[in-house]
């Protein structure tokens, strides 16, 4: 393998979820595409590194500070939705159900990987609570996300009137028959009156 190709494979393999084989396939694909397309990709990568950064208030990815969520006076400033990563914001936005502000923790508590509260953007969250009536904890429903939510709930309850957690349950369009026991048990525990 020639040296530039090895370098490209090595760089691609450093991306999350990409192993050496996939990196090799991607590199050979890039060799085949027109040069302009390859330059577009390279320019796009450089551009996001040069122009994008974390919002100084909420840590969302933005090209202007404050970000469009924090700057939007039309959003409900009494509610903050807490997520683990910047890419968690978009799925919530797409629902159209939440019109408050966001706060990105930039991670989650992960005891087995040595990530504790000090590694998360928790002090910045606590500094944003003036006038906030509800904090929605939208961390993932796994060990890391649950630990983070439970930890934050303890910190937030004395400071905020309502600390809420996203509901757990069956996916819309799913079947009871094929739903695992843990999810179904949580669905039952979180059932609501109609």
């Amino acid at each position: 393998m020639s040296d530039p190709l090895s370098r490209l494979v090595g760089e691609l393999a450093r991306l999350p979820g990409i192993g050496p084989k996939t990196a090799g396939r991607l590199a050979h694909h890039l060799l085949r595409v027109p040069e302009a397309q390859a330059r577009e990709l390279a320019a796009a990568i450089v551009e996001v590194k040069e122009k994008l950064f974390h919002c100084s208030r909420c840590n969302a990815i933005t090209a202007v500070d404050p970000c469009r969520f924090c700057a939007d006076e039309g959003r409900d400033r009494t509610r903050i939705c807490v997520v683990e990563e910047p890419f968690n914001i978009q799925p919530i936005e797409r629902t159209g159900e939440f019109r408050g502000l966001y706060h990105v923790l930039l991670g989650a508590l992960s005891p087995q990987r040595g990530i504790g509260p000090d590694e998360l953007a928790i002090p910045q969250l606590l500094a944003r609570l003036d006038g906030v009536e509800e904090v929605v904890l939208a961390t993932n429903p796994n060990v890391e996300g649950e630990a983070t939510a439970l930890y934050l709930a303890r910190l937030l309850r004395p400071r905020v009137a309502h600390v809420t957690r996203l509901a757990f349950g069956m996916p819309v369009g799913g079947d009871i028959e094929f739903t695992d026991e843990v999810t179904l048990a949580r669905s039952l525990a979180g059932r609501r009156e109609l």
């Binding site: 005891p111 087995q112 509260p117 060990v143 630990a147 930890y151 910190l155 996916p171 026991e181 949580r186």
Partner: protein, 249 residues
Amino acid sequence: MRFRRAEALILDVQPLGDADRIVAFLTREAGSLRGVARGARRRYSRHAGQLQLLSKVDLQWLEREGRELARVTSVELLRPADGFLGTLEGLLTASYLAESVRAFAPEGEPQELLYRLLDTTVEALLAGTGPGLATRYFEVWLLRLAGVFPFPSPCPVCGAELAGGARLVGGGESLVCAACGGPGGETVPPEALRFLAAAARLPLPRMAAEGFTAAALAAVERLATAVRRHFLQQELRSYQVMARTLQGA
């Protein structure tokens, strides 16, 4: 290629790409292993809810020559661990137990006793045994099974009984009486020695009736921590995170 099936306890679950997860698990016969659960991150995956930390499952997997990771082909939940994962303390304790097992169980070696220890500890936690008592019992037995716990016997220097207290010396290698221990080393009070003696003869569910104080449990924790650190030459990450998190909360 070898197809295998066993009862397993889930030790860790991590995302792999957009659709899969890497699962670390403990079995009696095959010990500690890791495998890829294909599609476990997908929305409609049956694996998603079953692959919870410390849940007991009926697991089937495929071992392939020369591959570090097995392929998990089937998971059926036998006992969820949800009962004690609903609190911050429970989640942190579960992570600590799981990392402890992974630190002391070499991959691929049979672990009958370690499996039984973790299984009974989880069972006791689900039955309502306090996390402090269960974790100290687990720590003592984990270190005993690893052959690194200096169990209290007469002082190896002067032969005196240790019932009146002891000191951990040699960086965690032996317990000697207070007179022989000198100024250094971890002090082990009589209550902690009583805990060690009880743990040697009683199953975990019967330990609660012995009425150990918080101070005694704290002394056992200090002792076990010193021995573990000396053996591993480092501290477990989950133990550090647990201490920092509970301190802040």
